[in-house]
């Protein structure tokens, strides 16, 4: 039974709460034990610090001049991380520094500071798995707790979770295929990639494969994907697609611009009756 220490750095606690939404949590808790978790039953922080454990979960960004439980946080992190057999960085703050890095440039993640390697990279790269997301999906966290050696991508994200794009499985895919944009917010019809700023086609994540809270995802409820699993989260002008001369500034993952534009020109040449009107007529 692996013993887990859940350490919080500079965070909003979103990952702690997201994790509690894991519907199979009671079963998982039969296989792992939290010696410290910010919400779940566990030891007090100071008592937990005296314990041995196997896995360190880091939630939140890391910074020197900052305290947790009255201890200098970086020192705390280094001590616990060195002690841990494995480290799981949970949420984009622990993975890349995250949103609060916009306020304080010194904040960084366990292995990365945005796209750059952090100063802890060499030290912990061999035992760290990154589960980004704002927040991270509870099933992604559970996956990392159980699978010790998953195949990782360049940002140390498990490929089984992050080789997909958020676009894969989106219920609006037909509209993407035929380049039919959403005419407005609040409609079940239309693709959000052309006007509303959706980053799903080039964002790594399985949000539309492993649904959120087991029922939905941002794009399924008409909200654009904001690219929260990527090192450049959080960007600007989030509800508007960045274009150059009407052409999306970022292409779907791995698709060359010429290929994309050729296909777009062809797709746009047809008006698909079914996709140009409301799905459900009243």
């Amino acid at each position: 039974m692996d013993r887990v220490f859940w350490l919080q750095g500079i965070t909003c606690n979103g990952n702690s709460h997201s994790f509690v939404n894991l519907s199979t949590l009671p079963a998982l808790l039969k296989n792992i034990e939290f010696i410290y978790h910010p919400l779940l039953e566990s030891l007090s922080f100071s008592k937990a610090l005296e314990q041995n454990f196997d896995i360190l979960i880091v939630e939140g960004g890391i910074k020197r001049d900052w305290q947790r439980g009255g201890v200098e946080f970086e020192k705390l992190f280094l001590e616990l991380a060195s002690k841990a057999k494995r480290i799981i960085a949970v949420g984009s703050c622990a993975v890349y520094g995250g949103i609060f890095k916009e306020y304080d440039k010194e904040i960084c993640g366990v292995l990365f500071a945005k796209e750059e390697k952090s100063h802890y990279f060499e030290k912990f790269k061999d035992k760290t798995i990154n589960i980004p997301g704002c927040p991270a999906h509870p099933e992604w966290i559970a996956y990392a707790l159980i699978y010790q050696k998953p195949h990782l991508d360049d940002y140390f994200r498990p490929k089984e979770l992050f080789a997909y794009t958020v676009h894969a499985g989106c219920t609006r895919n037909e509209y993407f295929e035929w380049k039919v944009d959403a005419k407005s917010f609040g409609l079940k019809e239309g693709c959000l990639f052309y006007e509303q700023g959706c980053q799903a086609p080039y964002t790594h994540g399985s949000c539309n494969k492993i649904l959120w809270n087991e029922v939905a995802s941002k794009t399924r409820v008409g909200t654009p994907c904001f690219g929260c699993t990527e090192p450049d989260f959080i960007q600007r002008d989030l509800f508007q697609t960045k274009t150059f001369m009407s052409i999306p500034a970022k292409m779907p993952l791995g698709v060359p611009k010429r290929a994309y534009l050729t296909l777009t020109g062809v797709a746009k040449s047809f008006r698909i009756e079914r996709l140009s009107k409301r799905l459900i007529d009243d």
Partner: protein
């Protein structure tokens, strides 16, 4: 006649059709006229193109690829958008002068008789190789900050409408000078209209 591959033969038919369309007019020229001019049987020509409409479509695709390929070469060069504009204008006018049947077909037949192309050439399909390269030219120009961001079609219309208009004037014999005389000024005008700031 030496044995030619099917592709070469096809291209020969297209070149001849373009020449005849440009000289006699699209609706005047029949498949039989083209066959006759190439010393082939009508039946044999039908082995290559099942109808005049099919030939018409292949022609526009052929021209679009040809223009697209040249603009692509310009796009791939490490030069400024301003220089690219000049090269595109230069190439376009040069083509209009040396192979007027290509541009004429595009302007006078494809754009003027969309009914002929209504099936299989919807929207941008048959001109996609050309339009895609123009899109890439614009996109990269805006991305680098050299050109002003705007709707694609307002920029496309300005660029291509201008060039088409000049070639039209040339075809009507209304230009007092050789078309290449205008390259410098026109490139400058287009650049000034599209540049950022």
């Amino acid at each position: 006649m030496a044995r030619r591959s099917k592709e070469e033969r096809k291209r020969q038919i297209m070149d001849e059709a373009l020449r005849l369309f440009s000289k006699e007019g699209f609706f005047e020229v029949t498949i039989a006229d083209i066959a006759k001019s190439l010393h082939m049987s009508v039946g044999n020509l039908y082995n290559y193109f099942s109808s005049k409409e099919a030939l018409a479509k292949e022609l526009i695709l052929y021209i679009s690829k040809l223009l697209g390929n040249e603009i692509r070469k310009i796009n791939l060069q490490p030069i400024s958008a301003k220089e690219k504009i000049k090269k595109i204008v230069q190439f376009y006018f040069y083509t209009a002068k040396e192979r007027p049947e290509l541009i004429e077909y595009f302007l006078r037949i494809y754009l003027s008789h969309r009914e002929v192309f209504k099936e299989g050439c919807e929207g941008m399909i048959c001109v996609s190789p050309f339009v895609t390269e123009i899109m890439i030219f614009f996109e990269e120009g805006v991305r680098s900050g050299e050109l002003r961001d705007q709707d694609f079609f307002s920029a496309f219309g300005l660029f291509m409408g201008y060039l088409g208009g000049m070639v039209f004037l040339m075809g009507e014999g209304m230009l007092p000078n050789d078309i290449e005389y205008y390259i410098e000024d026109i490139s400058q005008n287009i650049y000034l209209a599209l540049k950022n700031g």
